[in-house]
Symmetry: C2
Subunit: 136 residues, 2 copies
């Protein structure tokens, strides 16, 4: 099957540097962070404003792509489960999905709350959360 080239559009800047310290989910103690976008994609940020929530897509570049099953949350008392039924970072295409609240937009830098991604994590995409159909 064909493969496709992901080209990161920026990087996460965060105080989180070690996978062992990273919270498993954003509401489990994740810090504020900066999303630093390449100058070339800055026009794609037009319309992002403080106060909105967005979906952030990252590439979990420290994940193991050969893992197909895990004990959920690393808990060996729980049965091994296929990675498509878990949020484990290890999976064939380790795309990270994070809902973050936009605190500020300064040029090509976006300040966000509650991001569990590690410092240096490549950014792939950002999408707004969808409101009900009449507001789209």
């Amino acid at each position: 099957m064909t493969s496709y080239a992901l080209r990161p559009v920026g990087r996460v800047q965060s105080t989180l540097t070690d996978r062992a310290d990273a919270p498993r989910q954003p509401d489990e103690g994740a810090p504020e962070a900066w999303l630093v976008f390449d100058e070339a994609v800055a026009p794609a940020l037009d319309g992002l404003t403080p106060g909105i929530d967005v979906l952030l897509f990252t590439w979990l570049d420290r994940a193991d792509r050969d893992t197909l099953a895990v004990h959920p949350r690393g808990d060996r008392s729980r049965p091994r489960t296929g990675v498509f039924a878990t949020r484990a970072p290890d999976r064939p295409n380790p795309i990270g999905l994070h809902t973050v609240h936009v605190l500020a937009v300064e040029g090509n830098r976006v300040h966000v709350r509650h991001l569990e991604a590690l410092d240096g994590t490549p950014i792939l995409d950002v999408k707004p959360l969808l409101g009900p159909a009449p507001e789209r």
Copy 2:
């Protein structure tokens, strides 16, 4: 910046074949579809069961990766907006995100409801929707 190779893990099988006919969102008339996974990743499906909702990640292989701003929903009366503030398929890394309801799992094939992706669209990843923290 480094690029990363996405390796699709399957394909969408759908009656939708033309981008012009595809609904913009799943609750705008999207049909049922099959997710057909490669045999090699079948163990990753273990734990997916009928009745649950999952997040499906696809690669929108017919999207234009050089587009950075669009008129939302193709409506020229709306101001041009950066693609990171819209759900337009055209964007630097055209990752599709779809919430789908699992109707059936038959080996490496998963039957789902309300999928607006076109027939043949490459599948990248599947993740469960997260419940509240105590249920994780």
